[in-house]
């Protein structure tokens, strides 16, 4: 008798608790990152950061009492896989928003899926065509290539250096950069005197650089991700090229300096502010976010947080911001995101609107220079 009552009470209690859990069910957020494969240098810090931020939000009690649950898949940088996994996130896992993918190619492939299923996507890749033209359900946190190009051309224009040589990698990143460089050149009165490419796995670029040395270039702009630009820096030093060398934001991490060694000295590049967070003036809106991100990442992963991780940080925080304002479904999160104003994140200060789903201005980039194996802001 006693036991029966006890067990009944127990069952009732269990039911009570379970409904309680049900009521505060976590808000599911999907993530697609290229953790393995050629774009792993993007996907790995992004996944790590997203996990870190979600864990910290949950540790602090979640958002408005609701926990967040991050469901993260590895796309291996493969667009077909990204599409399958996006469908899986929406249909099986029933997520209300997706962060990622890491590369522009994957993002373009996933866009039709999220548009059809009406789930907001915050891409971590840089290609400007992702949000140009604006798609209803697609946002992005990575700075447009065009902003980085603008930074370099700005600097050259001020110094009246008008002849530039391009050396871009023959993959998506390089092609997009090359397109932007060529499109914006005339606006800044810049003439492209030499236009060369190299393969992402090439091991010697002296041939291209020799050709550039023979041209009238006053600056060389190289657009690529590691290790190519490090090889180019070394080759340029070998050839004794004195022409100033500019890189893209694709190599704005300590790894580049480590790989290129002394050859990196004096190279300038546009970079997200995360690289030089401690050098920023206190008046900078982003400084607080930047320092806390760098510190957290250091504590969690014993590595320096880079701006790739920052894209994921921004994405999670933007979703958090939308949820804080009362959103909890795909539709309301999308609407909330679009109303984001003046959010000072890692990549820059975001101002989304119905006409702008990229949300960043030219101040998202600073020009930095390698001095004594470290980054210094160019004034």
């Amino acid at each position: 008798m006693n036991i029966r009552i006890l067990s009944f009470l127990f069952a009732a209690l269990a039911l009570l608790f379970s409904t309680n859990v049900f009521a505060a069910a976590p808000i599911k957020i999907g993530a697609l990152f290229a953790v393995t494969g050629p774009a792993a240098f993007l996907g790995e810090p992004e996944r790590n950061t997203a996990k870190m931020v979600v864990d910290e939000i949950n540790k602090a009690g979640g958002v408005k009492g609701r926990k967040l649950e991050l469901i993260s898949y590895d796309t291996a940088g493969d667009a077909t896989k990204a599409v399958q996994l996006a469908t899986k996130l929406i249909k099986d896992d029933k997520v209300v928003a997706i962060i990622g993918p890491s590369t522009t190619g994957e993002t373009m492939a996933v866009i039709p899926v999220v548009e059809k299923e009406q789930v907001p996507l915050i891409s971590c890749s840089a290609g400007s065509k992702i949000t140009d033209p604006v798609k209803k359900w697609v946002f992005k946190t990575a700075q447009n290539d065009s902003l980085a190009v603008g930074r370099i051309f700005d600097y050259l224009q001020k110094r009246k250096q008008t002849n530039v040589a391009l050396l871009t990698v023959s993959d998506g990143f390089g092609a997009s950069g090359r397109e932007q460089l060529k499109a914006q050149a005339s606006k800044y009165g810049i003439k492209i005197v030499s236009d060369d490419t190299y393969g992402p796995k090439d091991t010697d670029m002296t041939a291209q650089l020799t050709k550039i040395r023979g041209s009238q270039a006053q600056a060389i702009i190289c657009w690529g991700t590691n290790p190519g630009p490090a090889v180019i820096a070394k080759n340029a030093r070998q050839l004794g090229i004195k022409t100033p060398l500019f890189m893209s934001h694709g190599v704005s991490s300590k790894k580049f300096i480590e790989l290129a060694g002394d050859a990196a000295e004096g190279i300038k590049l546009p970079s997200g502010k995360v690289l030089v967070a401690d050098q920023l003036p206190n008046s900078d809106q982003q400084k607080k976010s930047l320092l806390s991100f760098v510190k957290d990442y250091q504590n969690h992963y014993k590595a320096e947080g880079d701006h790739f991780g920052g894209h994921a940080w921004d994405a999670v925080m933007l979703i958090k911001g939308a949820i804080e304002k009362g959103a909890d479904s795909a539709q309301s999160i999308r609407d909330g995101l679009e109303k984001t104003r003046g959010f000072a994140g890692i990549g820059g200060t975001f101002n989304y609107s119905a006409q702008d789903h990229a949300g960043l201005g030219k101040d998202a980039f600073v020009l930095v220079e390698v001095k004594k194996r470290d980054w210094v802001v160019v004034k």
Partner: protein, 293 residues
């Protein structure tokens, strides 16, 4: 100015070509002893570079000790590969063996990715980074190392194949396996040797290029393919023909990138490969030999 440029293209081409040659010879040694193309050859190039890095960083060895250490470990890897993947095969038809080497290369690459991570790593140059001027062109001390080591290795190879018993036995296997077996040559042991020699050579190639090109778990793929091109141009000979093939490939690539367009650099290598396969499958310098094809 124009002459300076051509000289620079040629010098750059020679130094990359020497690497292709070294890797190409690794391909042809195994081909001659076993009749298979070892597509895992590129992975030993990668192992050489990454193992040197481990010896330098983890074991804190000086460079002169790290290099033999890395070569030794790669040789053991080559030995294990032959023992575990090639020898146990029931029906060693060429197509089965080739597929196994492709599988092996994916496995080795995967393991390397787990062990060393996905980052690119740099190894210090053997003797500094200060460029040396030759005419109007410049090369690095490391390029001289590459050329010198390639020459030494090819000389050792020549000596081994023509002046030692085991080298002659290996050549006998390449001419006719059955007959070699009948006169008392242990063909299986020769196959094992060929894998060890070529993995050691691959590792050396990987080590001497790492200071210039840096190294990562996936560098073996492209270098392996280029080495394969060199071997095809050389008609799969384990001697001077493959060396010339490698140098030719390097110089053409470099000239093509400089004078025509850098976008076609890799295409040039593969167009040459296809042309050779179509027109002169016996290699640029080989006599027509129907048995070999």
């Amino acid at each position: 100015m124009q002459f300076d440029q051509i000289l620079q293209y040629a010098l750059s081409g020679f130094s990359t070509g020497a690497i292709y040659a070294l890797i190409g010879i690794g391909f042809s040694i195994i081909y001659n002893a076993t009749g298979i193309i070892n597509f895992a050859q590129g992975e030993f190039v990668m192992l050489g570079g990454l193992l040197t890095l481990t010896c330098l960083d983890l074991l804190q060895l000086p460079l002169w000790a790290a290099i033999p250490c890395a070569v030794a470990v790669s040789t053991v890897a080559g030995l294990l590969f032959e023992r575990l993947a090639i020898r146990p095969l029931r029906q060693p038809t060429p197509i089965n063996l080739v597929i196994i080497t492709i599988g092996g290369s994916i496995l080795i690459r995967g393991l390397a990715m787990l062990l060393w991570g996905k980052d690119t790593h740099a190894i210090p140059a053997f003797s500094g980074d200060d460029p040396i001027a030759i005419g109007g062109a410049t090369i690095l001390p490391q390029h001289l190392w590459i050329l010198a080591i390639t020459v030494v290795i090819i000389a050792i190879n020549k000596f081994y194949f023509y002046h030692t018993i085991s080298g002659k036995a290996m050549r006998a296997c390449s001419y006719n396996r059955r007959a070699a077996g009948l006169v008392g040559i242990d063909v299986r042991r020769m196959v094992l040797f060929s894998f060890m020699i070529s993995s050691a050579m691959g590792a050396v190639a990987g080590i001497i290029v790492a200071p210039l090109t840096m190294t990562a778990y996936d560098v073996g793929v492209m270098l392996g393919l280029k080495g394969f091109c060199a071997a095809i141009i050389g008609g799969m000979s384990s001697g001077i023909a493959t060396v010339v093939g490698g140098l030719l490939l390097g110089v053409l690539e470099s000239l093509g990138a400089g004078l025509i367009s850098s976008g076609y650099k890799d295409a040039i290598a593969f167009i040459i490969l296809l042309l050779i396969l179509f027109i002169r499958p016996q290699g640029l310098f080989g006599k027509a030999d129907s048995e070999r094809v």
